[in-house]
């Protein structure tokens, strides 16, 4: 195999993984702070794709900008969903029963969102036609798809912004404190319930932005979440449950493994490589790549 070809596989894998990474950090944040496994995460991503599409159609907004513009409305939506639904099954009580209720709630929410979107917006796929979806940056013999490169760069920026927010701001520290020890945090005057709302809002906004970036090169349909949700969970667990850098690296690793698997296995077994790596990581490092025994963000 020529070196150029190998570089092409690695570059492609990283570019694909970049958007997986952004999708996954929202999920990791929600799990890290709230201990909620959000099965509806992919559906919020799908809604983010539709919003980006409507920005593009009605206001001629470039989808890369549109993706950023999904953040405020989806933050509010996430906050409302938390306040209206999730807050009723989180924050106290028998942990096992709470977990059951959360799983059923988020799974139900996922079904409702998918089917309501199918009914209201019809199953007809939509697409945003951008010049950069079918153009590449040429680095010698290696071609980097422009849409995926932009999406990758923006995913990096957004992930870095979240990291800075969590580590450098008081609000971010309060959020982490709520994740580490909700009880101790509340003794320090932190409103843990509000922190949960904040985490859910940010988590939903991030995945909606990832959806917006995805929409620059991927068709939009009500069931699009199904193509990504399993990979999101794998990325989060691979990186270490609840760890933001872990989820980001987990997403990149999945993209990379999907791409490199093709060097040794046929296309039909592309995701087999991902799950083999996943099992190996769990076997040798059960807490995940970046996980600690005590889960934190």
């Amino acid at each position: 195999m020529a070196l150029a070809e190998l570089v092409q596989y690695v570059a492609t894998g990283l570019l694909v993984g970049g958007v997986y990474a952004l999708m996954s950090i929202g999920l990791a944040l929600i799990f890290g702070v709230m201990r909620v496994v959000n099965f509806a995460q992919g559906d919020f991503m799908m809604l983010g794709m539709y919003l980006t599409y409507f920005y593009a159609i009605s206001g001629s907004v470039d989808p890369l900008l549109g993706a950023l513009l999904t953040i405020p409305p989806f933050f509010v939506l996430g906050w409302i969903v938390h306040r209206g639904l999730l807050a009723r099954v989180t924050g106290g009580g028998d942990p096992q029963r709470q977990m059951d209720a959360q799983l059923i709630l988020t799974l139900g929410l996922s079904l409702v969102i998918t089917n309501a979107t199918t009914m209201i917006l019809t199953p007809t796929p939509l697409g945003i036609r951008t010049g950069y979806a079918t153009q590449a940056f040429a680095l010698g013999p290696v071609l980097l798809n422009q849409a995926r490169s932009y999406a990758f760069a923006m995913a990096l920026v957004l992930a870095a912004a979240v990291y800075v927010f969590l580590t450098r701001t008081d609000l971010g520290k309060a959020l982490r404190a709520s994740a580490d020890d909700p009880e101790a945090a509340s003794y320090q005057g932190i409103d843990v319930r509000a922190m949960h709302g904040l985490a859910f809002g940010i988590g939903i906004a991030l995945v909606a932005a990832a959806g917006g970036l995805l929409a620059t090169y991927y068709p939009i349909e009500p069931t699009v979440a199904g193509n990504f949700i399993v990979l999101m969970f794998v990325a989060v667990v691979l990186g270490g449950l609840g760890s933001i850098p872990g989820a980001f690296v987990g997403g990149l690793v999945i993209g990379l493994v999907q791409s490199l698997t093709l060097l040794v296995l046929p296309f039909q077994l592309q995701n087999t490589g991902v799950f083999i790596v996943f099992l190996l990581v769990l076997y040798f490092r059960p807490q995940g790549l970046f996980g600690r025994r005590a889960r934190t963000v």
Partner: protein, 405 residues
Amino acid sequence: MRPLSRTTIVVLTLALVAPALFIRPAPAAEDVKIALVAPLSGRWARQGQLKKMGAEMAIEEINSQGGIKALGGAKIVLREGDAGDSVEKAVSAAQRLLTREKISAGIGSWLSSFTLGVTEVAERLQVPWLSLSYADSITERGFKYTFQTSPVSSLQAEQALELVTDVARRNNRPIKKAAIVGDNTAATVFFFKPLREKLLAAKGIELVVDEVWTPPLADATAIVQKLRTTQPDIMFYGGTNFPDSIQVLQKIKEFSVKTPIQGVGAWLVTPEYVKTVGKELLDNIQTVVAAHPLKGQEDLVKKFVQRTGEPFMTQDPLCTYAHVWLIKEAIEQAKSADPKAIRDALAKIDLSSGPATSAFYPARVKFDERGRRVGAAPLIVQWQGGEPFTVVPAAVATRPLAWHK
């Protein structure tokens, strides 16, 4: 003998009269229920939606023209079952639909993998089932209640190869190297299998790329990279899942791959392709299908377009439209809405005119002992200026075939 007491007389009278109270006079014409099991949710929901449009159009025509004459003007009603996005869901939808009420005949379920499962249920419950799916195996199981109106995949592969090699030779671009690219759904598998195993070799064509994936496809770079490196003269293409197919086509443009594309199936000629990738990218891409509007069907297409707002009509609504008409004809001949009688009528039917046949090529409906339509031949449809036209066979074509420059 003791005279009967008044109470006994009242009880006996009631006992005699009571059944009559519950027996309603048979309605002059009871509705005939037809099942449509198609994906109405999940990643193939669009195709189910198109099928439903065709079925509804036929039902409206039949009912407005006086219903089924042999049953005193009985109206046809549609019962839908959502096949979803898995064989299990398709099978349970069929099971639910066929056991809940009396269904006279059924149609579905678009994806060959689904049809294989659904027809097993129909066979067990003895309900005749019409399908447009392509996979050979649908009518290779000795089923009595399954009727396949489309030419089977292996036949499509043979004829598509024959056609493209012939056209390429006439355009001084003989095919020496071929690529097979597509997913592993049943119709695609059966199309690729004979190409891979014998047909290409028999024509002296080298298979240089053979990439098959399980939907969804994460990224098409590796596939298109191979196309770029090997430069095949033709690519046989079967990406039934829309996002997968879009990724492949976008990547082909990105990598400036000029290989002519010969698709398999009507999924490649749906209106959303134009909206998503633009008509320039689609130009000259052709696909082999079981049905597409032919010369002389302009009025039907116009009516469909006006009714649904779709920009054009394709195989899925067209076949389903014809299937409903075909069931109507079978009921007329059977003079009964009983599924077994309809099955027998379908097995004997030989039609060569009317709406039940016009969607098919050639325009004749007669089934062989396996349930395959006798003489069924595929059509080639090609994108030209943002619309797909029938280009082969020339006798029924709506546009001449354009070969890649």
